[in-house]
């Protein structure tokens, strides 16, 4: 009987051009894909909880429904606590808006006077600064309501994303099973190997960043409350949400919280305390959380990390910043698998050598 023979894999130009065309098409319609990408990310975050119950033999559809009910109840409870606090903060902002506006004007005016008095060519510098910064800012102010209205379509995502995520969670196992079944039998091992590598490293990263965001949000709220800074909830929420973009959470918290503290207390010591608070939170994150999170997830060199953020931001804007690092993780996993495949195919991978292999088994 003639045994089956291996064929050496060949580079395929049609496959290459098809892949490029698909990627270009996805880039052109990336705005439409945003809710779907966010839904997949949400489903990915919730999947470990569902897996936990599935391991006990519970049906997936019941677990998903139960989880949605629990999350809805949690959101309702959080809204019950947060809405009054948010309304208080809004009332406070409304009441003090005039004071803040006057304080900002006063600060600018003081800074201008100081610059004119102390710096050589002070008058010239102030005029240049006004021309470059103050005037464009004032021109943009009347457009502020339209910018805020422009954010409303984003609110639709709050309803759309969980809705899509629900169906993704219900059917994700079937999608995967169908994909495995469609895949040519001899390549199933390779394809699932790539999937496993990406899933293992990316899953830990995505879940880790959620833990970091929640921890930074809670720590910021407690810290700002302890310092007696107004709008603690709003600043903490902003800081927590910004943490989805690496390093941005602490920076946003320090800048916005510091600004609020300055206009509230009218001293430089108050914003400094806020900056120290967020610096402490960042250090605690680096020292306590990151080692736990990055232990099992993919390690990216800081330069690659920065490059990924810049490229993501440049091509896809804000959403690009959110997904730059996960995308870089996927790319790194793919390159690793491709190199692994190439080196083992051409037999360059070093064979495992162990001492004592020549001693017979006794």
């Amino acid at each position: 009987m003639e045994g089956p023979r291996r064929k050496t894999p060949q580079f395929s130009w049609p496959a290459f051009f098809t892949a490029v065309a698909v990627l270009y098409f996805l880039y052109k319609i990336h705005v439409v894909l945003i809710p779907f990408v966010l839904s997949f990310a949400l489903a990915y975050l919730m999947n470990p909880v569902i897996h936990h119950f599935e391991a006990h033999g519970f049906r997936r559809e019941h677990v998903v429904l139960g989880l949605y009910c629990v999350i809805a109840a949690g959101i309702a409870a959080a809204a019950n606590f947060m809405l009054p606090a948010m309304m208080n903060e809004l009332d406070l902002l409304q009441g003090r808006a005039g004071i803040y506006y006057a304080a900002i004007q006063q600060t600018f005016s003081t800074l201008q006077d100081e610059a004119v008095r102390r710096l050589p060519f002070g008058q010239h510098i102030v005029e240049r600064m006004s021309l470059k910064m103050y005037n464009p800012l004032m021109e943009q102010l009347p457009k502020l309501p339209s910018y805020i209205l422009g954010l409303f379509p984003l609110l639709s995502l709050i309803f759309l994303v969980p809705f899509i995520a629900f169906f993704v969670l219900m059917d994700s196992e079937n999608f995967l099973q169908d994909a495995v079944q469609i895949c040519p039998s001899r390549h199933v091992e390779q394809v699932l190997h790539i999937f496993s590598e990406i899933d293992t490293s990316l899953g830990n990263y995505v879940r880790g960043i959620l833990i970091v965001a929640a921890a930074i949000g809670v720590a910021s709220y407690i810290g700002l409350m302890a310092l007696g800074v107004d709008y603690a909830l709003a600043v903490a929420t902003l800081s927590g949400v910004s943490s989805f973009i690496p390093y941005l959470g602490a920076v946003m918290g320090a800048v916005v919280g510091g600004g609020v503290a300055f206009f509230q207390f009218h001293t430089f010591w108050a914003p400094l305390k806020v900056v120290i608070l967020f610096f402490g939170i960042r250090l605690a994150d680096e020292a306590l959380l990151q080692p736990l999170i990055s232990r099992h997830s993919m390690h990216l060199h800081p330069l690659l990390f920065l490059l990924a953020l810049m490229v993501g931001g440049k091509i896809f804007g804000f959403v690009g910043l959110l997904f730059a690092v996960p995308a870089a993780c996927i790319l790194k996993a793919l390159i690793g698998v491709a190199w692994d495949y190439y080196s083992t195919q051409i037999q360059t991978a070093p064979r495992m050598t162990l001492d004592g292999t020549e001693i017979p088994y006794v």
């Binding site: 045994g3 599935e54 391991a55 006990h56 190997h193 496993s196 088994y361």
Partner: protein, 171 residues
């Protein structure tokens, strides 16, 4: 009443697969919960009659467990003739060395009838070792025992067929 409630909430297919894993020697001693976690790490695939799972020389990535059907393992002999090594039925597993090292497969595997197989990947095993060490250690212990048994058998075969073992330890 309790049974009806249980039947409503519990996934029968999942339980039957878990019981199948429980019956395998490689997962002996694991609790239902641990087997449940383990089962989630597996991918299931149906192979039709004549479909090739892998060929000699392909890089091994996964351990295969035959859930149903029949798999034939062959090795290419001199002149391209295939020599049958084994015929595996439900409950058999093969390709376990892929969990320990990324080296080419030493045999061909072809489905001889419609077969359902469970696949476990090395990266998933590493995941199990990190998150459920008891399960991971149980699998690794069994693999070590299996290797030991095969080596013992290979040594016996060498003596039986008259080959001289090269018993030279490094100086």
């Amino acid at each position: 009443m309790l049974d009806k409630l249980r039947a409503f909430f519990i996934d029968k297919q999942f339980v039957s697969k878990r019981d199948f894993l429980k019956s395998l020697s490689i997962f002996k001693g694991l609790s239902n919960r641990e087997l449940g976690y383990l089962l989630q790490m597996f991918h299931s695939r149906t192979y039709h009659e004549g479909e090739t799972l892998f060929l000699e020389g392909d890089i091994g990535r996964a351990l295969f467990i035959v859930e149903s059907g029949r798999i034939e393992l062959t090795k290419n002999g001199p002149g391209g003739t295939a020599q049958k090594l084994a015929d595996l039925g439900p409950g058999s597993f093969f390709g376990e060395m892929a969990l320990l090292e990324h080296l080419p497969r030493s045999a061909n595997a072809v489905a001889r009838e419609r077969s359902v197989l469970l696949l476990l990947y090395r990266s998933k095993l590493e995941d199990i070792l990190h998150h459920h060490p008891r399960v991971g250690v149980a699998i690794m212990t069994h693999l070590a025992r299996l290797l030991s048994a095969r080596l013992r058998k290979a040594s016996e075969n060498m003596v039986t067929f008259g080959a001289e073992p090269r018993a030279q330890a490094p100086a």
